[in-house]
Symmetry: C2
Subunit: 415 residues, 2 copies
């Protein structure tokens, strides 16, 4: 491949990258270009450190005292406030707890309870499946509600809005294509119909600048194990805008959401602020690893993050289209920057085999049915040189047909 | 104190303890007699080892591949089967997932869905609060259901049963008093009324021999961070008897409970077996620590476990009643072995201050309102000598009134 972008300009890009030193905060295996940080982020060194302290000192030595002494009990709130800046939330609006699936269930119920008398939940037909499944779960206990799906009942969310819509659940970035929605504009439409907007940030938190309050979001959920590198299956977050505090109710009324969890009352009374979104006792070891991971983020400038993300994805799109387009690879991500998340997908009829060949060469992306090769670009630890090398290897695989020999099945299983 | 039980007989008890070598499997802080293993179990050395492997190798080096390669995705089922023997479940009936609170919510819903047309949920008025709170949560989305509480609507569960009862949620061991219920007898009564029996094993799993299938239980839930030493907030378990498989439904229908989680279907289809009790992506680091903890249990004879538990609690009751009874300490646990869990509570009007004085002397128990001093006896790492020392220190504190000087507030916060 003789791309129009030469290696010298790549070196310059890396030299001028204000985030280049962040790479040292992570453990990255040798010989790997890791482009699935949008699925499972790599280990931050601080996460290993905190996990060791949590296990050996807090659990091992201090034992039960750590619930107070090490702040375990307050981790959902304290870590929620650490994430707040990254998603445009104010302090006290976010908690880390449970899973994205469960937080979707809570947020939809809370939204419905804020809009009594309305009868429709709107979601995406092509959203991440668990979003739909949890919506169905809510509807199973709310027979008065019905679900309208984008792409099934109408082409666009906007076409599904009417004055009977209570809640709209929508992804900020599409997990397959990387398409970024305009949060402010769509939230405005949703509010125009009098409905509640719940944003799923799984593929945008830590990938770009999210501004929930500026954009008017009512609720948001998201995971911490993708771009935020909180660890496999790390607890998720849920945001509830302050204007709804005092009116939050959802049926997973566990003791951590109680106004006085240690009074051992006989009946549930919801805590204040965002606390009613909590439920049961949280997995502290996973929480403490996440605490370490968030240290890496505390001084990250989100404008720099976004600019680098766009720089990396611009470069990958340009290199792959130029070098691999002739081999039938087509872009399945937005060319326009304003519509692009921090991932790029390309399609090819043999995308699965090509992805296996890439993985064999140390370029770890993943495959999504039917023919999407998905590449995530986490700005904190990837360089422009990584992008150049990945595109070069992809070209090499296509030019030499090495993908036809790929025999390994290695589907990335968790998005 | 000159107890009728002398030190020599204590030494003999320890010498003949078939579980005495298990103590080496745990990290126990120096100078501490740890009697809150019923709240947070200490660290098993194998848990530290597995946590390190999970963080440094599986997450750090193998990254996304570990979802398959390290069996992460299957941990709910594989660890569920590890716990199965301890609770009298068959393979395939138990999964480790989420929290006890959430599993209660799922189990009650699943029970209600097995008993359509019935209108009552029975629970304990003095059960662990989250059990009641989650029951209220279910009722909040099932306005056709009402709740009857033991101790409020009638003195005993048995008095609350009638042909309109769909589900009964009951604790195997009371968290304050340590009273053990007769699972077979009460399940028989519940089934006699045509209702579904859900057992909360939080204070019995790993504390005594539980035999869910022999006793006819329909569902069970429980935590893994007390007697099982799985780590702070370690994921909980949920059991569903095989006879209900194929008919399990509950509204937390996340993608891990789907029949084909990687098909990315647009609509939820419940998986087979116990899988419909799963929901979202689990906290793998906490799960892997639990995997290490369960190694310690794999060769434990549960009859030996129970016999030692009763031996330890018999001894503690005898020593404290003899030595401390004159100072106003009264037993709040069953004297009868068949009704006793693996914890002993004593009451004293100044129980709170006395507990602080005990903690200052390295005897870690906890306090439960209004006046319960609670002591847990985990048979794997406690010796008869520990029990003797704890009782001696308690006597000393009372005889010398040192509790009056106790200034430290150190309430164990999580039961």
């Amino acid at each position: 491949m003789k791309p129009s972008i030469d290696r010298a300009s790549i070196v310059t890009l890396d030299q001028h990258d204000p985030l280049r030193t962040k790479r040292d905060a992570f453990v990255l295996p040798d010989g790997v270009i890791y482009l699935v940080g949008n699925s499972l982020g790599p280990v931050p060194k601080a996460a290993l450190r905190e996990l060791k302290i949590a296990a050996e000192q807090e659990w091992g030595e201090d034992l039960i005292r750590s619930w107070n002494g090490a702040g375990w009990f307050d981790l959902p709130a304290t870590l929620g406030d650490r994430i707040a800046r990254l998603i445009g939330a104010a302090p006290g609006e976010t908690v880390i707890t449970d899973t994205t699936s469960l937080n979707i269930y809570k947020a939809i119920h809370a939204g419905l309870n804020l809009r009594p008398g309305r009868s429709v939940i709107v979601a995406e037909g092509a959203g991440f499946p668990t979003d739909i499944y949890m919506t169905e779960g809510v509807a199973s206990v709310r027979p008065d509600m019905r679900i309208r799906l984008e792409g099934v009942d109408a082409p666009r969310i906007e076409d599904l809005l009417s004055d009977d819509v209570a809640v709209v659940l929508v992804n900020h970035v599409d997990y397959r294509t990387g398409v970024l929605r305009d949060m402010a504009a769509l939230t405005g439409c949703i509010h125009g119909a009098g409905a509640i907007a719940i944003w799923d940030l799984c593929h945008s938190a830590g990938a770009l600048k999210v501004d929930l309050n500026a954009d008017g979001a009512d609720f948001a959920v998201g995971c911490t194990y993708k771009y935020l590198s909180g660890g496999p299956g790390a607890p998720a977050f849920v945001f509830a805008a302050r204007r709804h505090h005092g009116k939050l109710s959802q049926p997973l009324t566990g003791w951590w959401g109680h106004a006085s969890p240690f009074a051992f009352d006989r009946s549930f009374r919801a805590g204040d602020g965002v606390r009613p979104m909590l439920c049961g006792t949280q997995p502290i070891l996973s929480m403490r690893a996440l605490a370490g991971a968030l240290e890496v983020w505390d001084d990250v400038d989100l404008d720099q993050l976004r600019e680098k993300s766009l720089g990396l994805t611009d470069l990958f799109i340009a290199l792959v289209e130029e070098g691999c387009g002739p081999f039938g690879v087509t872009l399945a991500a937005p060319r326009e920057r304003t519509m692009r998340g921090s991932q790029v997908s390309f399609r090819h009829p043999h995308g699965y085999e090509i992805m296996q060949a890439l993985i064999d060469r140390g370029v770890i992306g993943d495959f999504r049915s039917p023919d999407y090769m998905r590449f995530g670009f986490a700005p904190l630890y990837l360089s422009y040189a990584d992008v150049y090398a990945a595109a070069t290897i992809l070209h090499d695989i296509l030019a030499n047909n090495t993908w036809r020999a790929s025999r390994f099945a290695n589907r990335g299983r968790v998005t």
